[in-house]
């Protein structure tokens, strides 16, 4: 059996570990455009902030690929996929046959058609190379504008700020973190950012990146008429699935590569996982692209097992984000902004502005389907458990969750022993 994995992100690592659970010997080849072994992509903001050095970037020890018997073709981009012939061709002129192919190509940063975007001084923030560039940029840059107030934008802003750059954030939505968080959580985070001196401009958008005659950036014009002087602009308004290879090969692509429960695409020999895949969601019972790290790993892992013949259904991804801004930890899991008026929804919000803590729980049809925690996040995992295992909640348990006291002992009878004390579970007599 020959496995080829395109891309070397976390989905790829998950796939390698998954394949090896079921097939200890099959040949694995990883082809990746990036020339470094897999690194913790989210760590690039820690690197840019100077919190960690480059030696901490690798996701697995250098021995990993040998130990898992994986061949690597780094710095090599797959340019075409021939699903009939079962081969992929790379930009360095090689053609690799496969029995099972995994597309783990991730996403590409989306850059809007903004006047002035072409030229020097405009950066994305998704790769190690981007981070290394920005480390240099930050040395000679006094002010910068980050376009996009989502997770990546805020992390970029925080990191640049740590490098001594004065940063402004521009966000179209009325608040930062609009997708993963709600007003109150966004508000607490914005407050913290303001406290440390990061400007946040919400409810407006960049209309032009202004350059002088030499092409050097001088600032950014906003729709609200204001002008933010800057020497550098980071665009972080999201990523789109890198699904071109699949599309060109005639494989079904919607927003991302559409995959079934086994993570197989419309071509049974081609699988997809991670930011490129449109896979099952645990709560919505539908396929969607949720470009987050844990989903990428898990999809890769299940794709790997299934490629190796395990027939192990992927239970579905769960949207989750955990980020800390200057010591203010925030967690958001599942459905946190239900559509207004959605049937069966019940919300509970507990805000303590003084201590900067916030807890929001979203129940649907008597089950927990999402939550946001700011400040006090210690019980996050327990809440996640209630969502993941879809426990029906009685009034008592619900009250305990609402009051911030979830416990494994509130699990339905029998489930505890199943998970924690199987078979040996004590029968008294």
């Amino acid at each position: 059996m020959k496995y080829v994995i395109v891309g070397n992100g976390v989905a790829s690592v998950g796939a390698i570990e998954g394949i090896r659970r079921a097939d200890p010997d099959g040949e694995i080849l990883v082809i990746s455009e990036e020339s470094t072994p897999t690194y913790g992509r989210p760590l690039i903001s820690y690197l840019l902030a100077g919190k960690i050095g480059p030696e901490r970037m690798p996701l697995r020890p250098i021995t990993f690929y040998d130990k898992f018997k994986v061949k690597m073709a780094l710095g090599s981009k797959v340019v075409s996929l021939d699903a009939k012939a079962k081969t992929v061709s790379t930009d360095d002129g090689n053609t690799h046959p496969y029995d099972k192919l995994l597309l783990a190509t991730g996403g590409v940063p989306f850059v809007p058609p903004l006047p002035g975007k072409d030229g020097s001084g405009v950066y994305s923030f998704t790769t190690l190379a981007n981070a290394e560039t920005l480390v240099d940029v930050a040395k000679n840059c006094k002010t910068a504008v980050v376009v996009g107030g989502g997770l990546i934008g805020l992390k970029a802003a925080e990191a640049l700020h740590d490098r001594g750059v004065k940063v402004s954030i521009v966000e179209l939505a009325p608040r930062v973190l609009s997708a993963a968080f709600d007003d109150k959580a966004g508000g607490l985070v914005a407050k913290r950012l303001a406290e440390v001196g990061i400007d946040v401009h919400c409810g407006t958008q960049a209309t032009e990146i202004k350059r002088d005659e030499s092409g050097t950036i001088v600032g950014v014009h906003l729709k609200d008429g204001s002008f933010l002087p800057a020497q550098a602009v980071v665009i972080a308004i999201g990523v789109v699935p890198a699904a071109a290879l699949a599309k060109d090969a005639g494989i079904k692509v919607d927003r991302g590569v559409v995959v079934d429960e086994r993570l197989a695409s419309s071509d049974p020999a081609v699988f997809a996982a991670g930011d490129v895949a449109q896979a099952k969601d645990l709560i919505l019972d539908d396929n969607r692209v949720v470009p987050i790290w844990p989903n990428a790993f898990n999809q890769g892992f299940y794709a790997g097992k299934n490629m190796a013949g395990a027939d192990s259904p992927y239970l579905g991804g769960l949207a989750m984000n955990s980020i800390a801004f200057y010591g203010l930890p925030t967690v958001s899991v599942g459905i946190v902004n239900p559509a207004p008026g959605e049937a069966g929804i019940e919300l509970s919000e507990t805000l303590d502005e003084e201590n900067a803590t916030y807890r929001k729980l979203v129940f649907k049809d008597g089950k927990l389907v999402g939550y946001v925690l700011v400040g006090d996040i210690d019980n996050a995992g327990l809440y996640t458990g209630f969502i993941r295992f879809k426990f029906p909640l009685d009034a008592d348990t619900k009250a305990k969750l609402v009051s911030g006291c979830p416990s494994i002992l509130q699990w339905p009878e029998g489930f505890f022993d199943e998970k924690f004390n199987p078979v040996g579970a004590q029968e008294i007599v």
């Binding site: 760590l43 790290w293 967690v331 458990g385 494994i408 002992l409 040996g424 579970a425 004590q426």
Partner: protein, 150 residues
């Protein structure tokens, strides 16, 4: 692999397992120094914690899952599943304190280090034959044995 199985039918909620855990993970390995000196200085905290609801108690920590959600969520490579031992291992050096694993583990087995921007998690007492908590438990509320896969 050998794992620790907590039994809520007989756990009496004494928290001696926590005391043992803290001692075993201290520098001095001395129960009094660990609690009265090191705890204040370095923020030692137990990796196993007793949950209680009414009269029922049980001491919980990492179950070293077959398919660990914490490893899936870890962005820094600090958490890995050791394919040989089956243990879900944690390398504190690598941890950046993003709390992704803490959020992802549906069993709530991961905690924040009391002072560092790092997590703490059960390591099944690496280096000991018998985990400290199991050894300390006076009522066989924790059993360390191999029950097959998960």
């Amino acid at each position: 692999m050998k794992k620790i199985y907590p039994n809520k039918a007989v756990c009496i909620g004494c928290h001696l397992c926590e005391v043992a855990c803290v001692t075993a993970h201290s520098k001095s390995k001395d129960i009094i120094l660990a609690h009265n000196v090191e705890k204040a200085q370095e923020g030692l905290a137990p990796r196993r914690n007793v949950a209680q609801e009414g009269p029922v108690c049980v001491a919980l920590s990492c179950r070293h899952c077959e398919e660990p959600m914490c490893v899936a969520a870890c962005i820094s490579g600090a958490l890995t599943k050791n394919p040989e031992t089956g243990r879900c291992e944690y390398n504190e050096e690598q941890c950046v304190g993003c709390w992704s694993c803490l959020m992802a583990c549906p069993f709530g087995s991961i905690r924040r280090h009391p002072v560092k921007e790092k997590i703490i998690k059960c390591d099944l007492c690496a280096g000991r034959d018998m985990p400290a908590c199991v050894e300390a438990c006076p009522n066989a509320g924790l059993i360390y044995e191999d029950r097959g896969k998960d």
